[in-house]
Symmetry: C2
Subunit: 104 residues, 2 copies
DNA sequence: CGGATCGTTAACCATTGGGTTAACCGTAGC
DNA sequence: GCTACGGTTAACCCAATGGTTAACGATCCG
């Protein structure tokens, strides 16, 4: 999978960036303030988010404006919801199953 | 974050295992057939899923029965849905924003 | 022009990740 | 008892991650 949103979201800093961008577009400085890592580290995280198609970048003068690219993230959200719907049908079944096994 | 479901889901094999377990509990062999990697590799993926609290294991004789542990995955699904709800309010705004910047 | 600002690239380093093979453990079954 | 089976552990390998500092590029502004 070339666009792997789960990989993109597997680091807390990148999730933090996504959270901020979910409020609306922002510059790199705005979207990444306060994470306590160096600028090159931030730059790498942004590269991952951009490569996976989670974030889009528009260069405006010397600042880079970032915005969320909903499609790829929606894919991930859809996958999660689908799995949740499937396991949701099993709630009670699982309990029974475990009890059955414990008593074997 | 000690229980990081996104890390757990960041590998396609682990997502595959989750998909199978969303249909219902299964043994290791059942849940992980056909991934084309060795058994130790599988074992490591299962360890990750177990450590992150995504999967529970009950040893029955010489087989290990796996089942999905819904809580941690639900956390992730909730996070995704929350972000989607937030960025959803921005759809048109983003378009305007990009156009505005392109014309600068 | 010259300095400050926003952000990236380069080079490097330590750790983690994901895979392998070989060996092992415990249980099942003949 | 012994072999087959389900699965893990150990030891190892290489590539990818995530961080650093130092330097750079480009733009803005006095």
């Amino acid at each position: 999978m070339v666009n792997d949103p789960f990989r993109a979201l597997s680091h807390p800093i990148r999730r933090g960036i996504v959270e901020r961008l979910a409020e609306g577009p922002a510059t790199v400085g705005e979207a990444t303030a306060g994470f306590g890592v160096s600028k090159p580290a931030i730059s790498k995280h942004l590269k991952v988010l951009e490569e996976t198609g989670v974030v889009a970048r528009v260069v405006v003068g010397r600042t880079h404006r970032l915005s969320l690219e909903p499609d790829v993230l929606s894919e991930a959200a859809d996958w999660m919801d689908l799995q949740r719907a499937r396991w949701g049908r099993l709630f009670d079944v699982v309990d029974d199953y475990l009890k059955e096994n414990e008593s074997r």
